[in-house]
């Protein structure tokens, strides 16, 4: 495993281009585009203000940089550096900006969710979509980019509009049986839309592309409901994480629950491997040699070394006592992610913030549990294989695969607190982001990684 040198970054704005060739990162008002392989700067753009949001177009030709404070969006072309485009939302303000899947339209949401403005880069046309709902996830595009579903609110009722992205024609418009719609999400196959209600009520509705209600599911009443939803890449399963600390898996045939994954604080089943991160004082020549710093001798030795230990069951995990008199209590399953092959599901229960549960979807049971020393900030699956990268806001990045677990110290001057990470398309590298810096982590070929994993698991 190799690490690139550390580059400057602001606002955690660092993104790989969808074709995997380039890496865009922001430093204040500058947008830097690098070649992924050489890390040489390919282009450097200067925006009018501090960039708050960047997004690659689907064809990797354009990058939009949103400056919400000024209500501005600037678009840059990678092919034509001299080409420029500036969209000003004026007094309407701007709270969100995104590309349409075709990469030729930009959807800007104005302040107070007054409307969504659709700007075309091909023609001078501007479209407005009224009554967008101010919610967590109000717009969603199908994977093939043909359709967009939009949550709307009119006359105190929730609606969903389905647009054809090619000409922004309204295809379907239907009201949903929800109190206060919170999120919508297309299934990866683009034929089923999951709609879930506010956390006050456990309700998830499934609509067909043509607006038919396929099914509605509710696990319980009265208590706080759905917190997170994730489709499996195969569109076979819909995982619903809720405030009761359970993940319910619905199937795509009957849309009924197949199984329920509880997240108990105590693990008694001896079949489940519990990896526990343990910190220990460094032993010279052991941890460092396997991960030599890129700049020889420059990086100081890490103050401490962490490794995984296989805890013997029964294991009781550290739990947070949730504060019940505050809104948005830290309980329930807040993070859900299927592995790209749909074989595994990684979850985090928010009142056990240090642990990541990995579930075996084939056998529908718990597979492994990783308990970190500090709360898990983010995790992301390798797009190519069942390999999970986890960061906890410390100077380490953690990798899990069915073969084992490893923790890697990020070399560099000072403490590189990894707050977020994103995988490269190929799964060969990932970007590790801290508050002010980012670096790339190159993973060796699969075989090498496999052996490393094995060695490490054997070591622990």
């Amino acid at each position: 495993m190799n690490f690139s040198e550390v580059f400057k970054l602001s606002g955690l704005l660092c993104k790989f281009s969808p074709d995997g060739k380039y890496l865009a990162s922001c430093v204040q008002y500058r947008l830097v585009v690098r070649d992924v392989n050489t890390l040489q700067i390919v282009q450097l753009y200067t925006c009018l203000d501090q960039i708050q949001h960047i997004e690659w177009s689907a064809d990797s030709l354009f990058i939009l940089c949103a400056m919400y404070k000024r209500g501005l969006v600037q678009v840059w072309s990678l092919e034509q550096p001299e080409w420029h485009c500036k969209i000003d939302e004026g007094s309407a303000g701007l709270v969100a900006s995104c590309w349409s899947p075709d990469g030729r339209h930009i959807l800007n949401t104005t302040e107070f969710h007054l409307r969504i403005t659709v700007w075309s880069l091909c023609t001078k046309s501007v479209s407005y979509i009224k009554y967008p709902k101010a919610c967590l996830q109000g717009t969603t595009f199908t994977r093939d980019g043909r359709y967009m579903a939009l949550a709307e609110r009119r006359d105190c009722k929730d609606y969903v509009s389905i647009f054809v992205c090619s000409d922004w024609q309204l295809l379907r418009h239907f009201d949903t049986d929800t109190q206060d719609l919170t999120g919508i999400e297309w299934a990866p196959n683009g034929c089923v839309l999951a709609v879930w209600d506010t956390c006050l009520e456990y309700k998830i509705l499934l609509y067909s592309l043509d607006g038919r209600l396929l099914s509605a599911y509710s696990a319980y009443e009265w208590s706080l409901g759905i917190k997170s939803v994730a489709w499996s890449p195969s569109s076979q399963f819909l995982a619903v994480g809720s405030y009761d600390g359970k993940v319910r898996i619905l199937n795509h045939v009957t849309w009924k629950m197949i199984t329920e994954f509880e997240h108990p604080a105590a693990i008694n089943n001896p079949k489940i491997v519990v990896y526990k991160e343990a910190e220990k004082s460094p032993q010279l020549g052991l941890g460092c040699l396997s991960f030599p710093p890129p700049r020889a001798g420059a990086g100081p030795l890490p103050t401490s070394e962490s490794k995984y230990e296989i805890a013997s069951v029964p294991v009781s995990l550290q739990t947070l006592k949730p504060v019940t008199d505050r809104a948005n209590p830290k309980i329930g399953v807040g993070m859900l992610a299927f592995s790209p092959d749909s074989y595994f599901l990684a979850t985090r229960n928010d009142n056990v913030p240090n642990a990541v549960w990995v579930w075996d979807i084939q056998k529908l049971r718990l597979f492994a549990v990783l308990e970190q020393l500090s709360p898990v900030r983010a995790f992301q699956w390798d797009p190519q294989q069942p390999r999970l990268a986890i960061c906890t806001g410390g100077s380490r990045v953690y990798l899990w695969s069915p073969a084992g677990c490893l923790s890697v110290q990020v070399p560099g001057e000072g403490d590189f607190a990894v707050l977020s990470l994103c995988w490269h398309l190929s799964g060969d590298s990932m970007a590790l982001l801290s508050k002010d810096h980012f670096c790339l982590c190159f993973l060796e070929t699969e075989a090498a990684v496999g052996t490393a994993c094995r060695q490490l698991s054997g070591h622990t």
Binding site: D88, S120, D210
Partner: protein, 610 residues
Amino acid sequence: MGDWMTVTDPENKTLSQHTSETKMSPSSLYSQQVLCSSIPLSKNVHSFFSAFCTEDNIEQSISYLDQELTTFGFPSLYEESKGKETKRELNIIAVLNCMNELLVLQRKNLLAQENVETQNLKLGSDMDHLQSCYSKLKEQLETSRREMIGLQERDRQLQCKNRNLHQLLKNEKDEVQKLQNIIASRATQYNHDMKRKEREYNKLKERLHQLVMNKKDKKIAMDILNYVGRADGKRGSWRTGKTEARNEDEMYKILLNDYEYRQKQILMENAELKKVLQQMKKEMISLLSPQKKKPRERVDDSTGTVISDVEEDAGELSRESIWDLSCETVREQLTNSIRKQWRILKSHVEKLDNQVSKVHLEGFNDEDVISRQDHEQETEKLELEIQQCKEMIKTQQQLLQQQLATACDDDTTSLLRDCYLLEEKERLKEEWSLFKEQKKNFERERRSFTEAAIRLGLERKAFEEERASWLKQQFLNMTTFDHQNSENVKLFSAFSGSSDQDNLTVHSRQPQKKPHSTSNGSPVCMSKLTKSLPASPSTSDFCQTRSCVSEHSSVNVLNITPEDIKPNQVGGECTNQKWSVASRPGSQEGCYSGCSLTYTNSHVEKDDLP
């Protein structure tokens, strides 16, 4: 508890006092009585001895004592006087006897008293014991009562608690209900407020939108260098009804594609499953068919047929075209056959399981159990051994016989012969002694018989004489007898003619007024007859006895040849013997046969004896 104690204590005291009194009273009374009775008595005695009798009043005292004693049933102290006026004299012996008896009585009384006292003591102690038991039990009762009350109290408290808890539960339930209602009402209120706010918000938004839009904000604009081409290279098309329809088409196409894809997947899955089923079936058939062939009797006929038609099915299904058939047609066939197959397999596996478990059980029950094969081997071995042993015995026998057949040595043969002779002699001797003994027995019997015969003859003779005398007397008294008697006389005359048959007829003709006299009775009768021969009313009796005799004699006649009887009759002494024989009518025949046997034996003996 303290209260109870204070309450009970006096009671106990009084009770114990009372009981002690009651306990004491009988014994004390008794003792008092005893004392009263004994001490004054002794005193009296003393005073009596000191004052009662003096030299002056000896006479009075003696008379007084005599009176007293006689009233108590003792014999008088005075000698029995012959004359009334004579002065009675003191009978020293009587006095002494009286004294002795009195002493004895005294001792007895003392003993009795002692016994009574000990008994009294025993009873007293028993009483005490019972008393203590009683008090203990009372205490126990009290404590248990107290306990019961305590428990009742507890029970009551618990019930109270339970009631309270029930009440609480009910309250809680009510509370829950109330809270739920509150939540619901609040939720509706909240929703209502939300809606109101949202409406206001929407109004504001609308207003803002109008403001923003109407202002003709110059700033809202896109500053672009040049428009870029569409990603697909096409030009944007106008939005028309046509495009709408196209979009619809497209959407349905997508949906259709999705469904087709899913159907294809399901078909594939189905095919896969069918394949698996097919394979499973084949394997099952292959697994089950050899078993069917081998132990034909083990597999039932039904299963056999199932297998056979399953095989037919398999033959049908093995054709490739089966996959092209729709599910409905194949499904039933396949599932049914599989089900059948599965049932067979299941039963088979269960059977095997049972066997295995049985074996396991046996194995666990005793370790040194012998397997069937071993057992068979063992038995075979044993049989072989038996065979060998038999052969050996046979050869030994043969050898022995050969040895016996061929005269080995003269000495040995002579010795052997001697041995045999000796043995024979011994045996003969034994037989001889046995024989002798038998002979002796027979001799004895013969003697006894001859004696009996002699006796019989004698008796007969006596009887004849008696009869003669009786007849004579009858003849003498003929004149006084009536007509009936004359008939009797006639009969008797006939009897005297010594024809036994006639006698029998007489006997049958005569009315049987009395039962047959017993053997014991008959001699008495005879003696009576002999004694009181002159008495007339006993004639009938006599007749009967005589008939009895005649009967026995007839029996005698029947069994024994007349020649045998004749000498007896001649002897005239065999009557006695006859009576004794008559006493055991059942054993007559055996006796006589034994007689005849003795005779024959004696004859044989005579022959044998040189």
